[in-house]
């Protein structure tokens, strides 16, 4: 434990200076607030349990509705007795009856805290963001979890594991998920201040939805099977490695992501018809993709509107047959390696020097029939060696 001064932090447009004791659990500078109750940890990987630190605000409607599989033991954490779950149920917390310290949130509101536990759920779906019209819990209601820890007990499931769906998670700062052979769709959308995300001992997440979520430090993505528009508007500095061992769906994998760098993307067998369509489309802040190793046949609109993108490297482009508007409205590409390419590509109006264009030509394979490479309006267009490409059967538009 150490005494740290947080300094100025901004939440919901308000600035508050907070001095408090914190415990060090992160290397990014962020500290788990010391006043937060610690969540239990699990040592047995076969344990199936959900723990969530839930903030109960003074003079506010603090509600939670759960709909989970099996007959787990549920503890709302407010002193009421734990019970055996049998059907979807709503909890409305009474701030005044909760014992424990009154804390002050970043914006000055008073809150108390409870630890919700759901012990021994099964694989038939898990939803802690269910709606309840009777109690006015709807898709606009926020969920007050600040810290979530899940051990999935090495289960294999195709059922959804829903932390939220369209609902917001404005307070969630830590999410840790462990011990899964396979989960269904894990939805973690609309979390705006996530500091720490961890996946440990997770073999496969069929879908990891991070739409409209902001994560303040990079994390190791688990292997993922399906990723249709799964990262739209995800704000994250960089992604080290994104692996899809068996691709189920993949339309717009990183479309609209707000990310500076993706170090590598790897895909195994492909069962998706859309494959690399709209791959990183509209990723305006993306500067670099380290290495793409995927047996996709199409990247139409794949990099469209990636106006900051400087470097793209394909491990093997020989499977690709559709490059329609792949680099439409890019403009800043300086390095492009298309190893084994056999089809035409339009890289016009970018920033390729003659050396870079020559390197791209060198990376090409032999053209499959009549194929056209368009390189107009690059700095090196006039001086590059187009015979490298024409010698492989390509027609080159300069």
């Amino acid at each position: 434990m150490s005494n740290n001064k947080f300094g100025l932090r901004t939440r919901l447009g308000l600035i508050k200076e907070i001095s408090q004791t914190t415990q060090s659990d992160s290397s990014c500078g962020w500290q788990r607030p010391a006043e937060w109750l610690p969540l239990p940890t699990v040592t047995n990987i076969n344990t199936r349990i959900f723990y969530g630190l839930f903030l109960v605000f003074e003079n506010e409607f603090n509600a939670l509705r759960i709909s989970v599989g099996g007959a787990p033991t549920v503890d709302w954490g407010d002193g009421t007795p734990p019970f055996t779950y049998s059907a979807a149920i709503t909890k409305i917390y009474d701030y005044d009856s909760i014992t424990g310290a009154v804390n002050q949130y970043y914006d000055g509101r008073n809150y108390k805290q409870v630890i919700v536990s759901i012990d021994n759920f099964n694989s038939n779906g898990f939803d802690i963001a269910a709606t309840d019209s009777t109690n006015n819990i709807n898709t606009n209601s926020s969920l007050n979890f600040a810290d979530i820890y899940v051990s999935y007990g090495m289960m294999t499931s195709n059922s959804n594991f829903t932390i939220n769906n369209s609902r917001t998670l404005p307070y969630l700062e830590i999410f840790k998920f462990e011990n899964a052979t396979q989960t269904g769709a894990l939805r973690l959308n609309n979390a705006s201040i996530l500091q720490i995300v961890e996946f440990n001992n997770v073999d496969l997440v069929r879908v990891l939805k991070l739409v409209n979520t902001k994560i303040n430090q990079p994390f190791d993505f688990p292997p993922i099977a399906a990723s249709n528009n799964a990262n739209q508007n995800l704000i994250i500095d960089s992604i080290d490695s994104y692996v899809m061992p068996n691709v189920e769906t993949s339309d717009g994998i990183f479309r609209d992501i707000k990310c500076r760098k993706i170090n590598s993307f790897t895909a195994g067998s492909v069962g998706s018809s859309f494959q690399g369509r709209s791959f990183v489309r509209n990723a305006y802040y993306l500067e670099e993709i380290g290495l793409i190793d995927a047996p996709f046949t199409r990247y139409d609109y794949g990099f469209n509107n990636c106006v900051s993108l400087r470097k793209v490297t394909f491990q093997d482009f020989s499977t690709v047959t559709n490059t329609l508007n792949m680099f439409l409205t890019t403009g800043n590409i300086r390095e492009l390696i298309l190893s084994g390419c056999t089809v035409g590509v339009d890289i016009s109006s970018n920033s390729m020097t003659a050396d870079a264009l020559d390197a791209m030509f060198t990376s090409l394979g032999t053209a499959s029939g009549a194929q056209t490479i368009t390189i107009t309006d690059n700095p090196g267009t006039a001086t590059c060696d187009t015979t490298i490409a024409t010698g492989k059967g390509y027609t080159v538009v300069v």
Binding site: G252, R277, S278, R281, N282, Y301, N304, L324, N325, A367, A370, T372, T374, T376, T386, T390, G391, K392, G393, Y394, T395, V396, V397, V398
Partner: protein
């Protein structure tokens, strides 16, 4: 500008200078046409229609 319609792949290409695998280079309208490339002062209507279709497709994907 030279224009070429690749009907099989539903693609259009255009450029002022085109270099072919056989060493032929066409540039600035000389020659007027070669291997499906046509030099035109104005873009053909079919090309403009294709662009509009692409824009519509782009909007539906966004």
């Amino acid at each position: 500008m030279y224009y070429k319609n690749d009907i099989e792949n539903n693609m259009w290409y255009k450029g002022r200078e085109v270099r072919f695998p056989n060493g032929i280079i066409i540039k600035d309208g000389n020659p007027q046409s070669y291997d499906g490339w046509e030099w035109l002062e104005e873009p053909p209507q079919e090309y403009l229609d294709w662009l509009i279709r692409l824009e519509l497709e782009e909007e539906t994907q966004t």
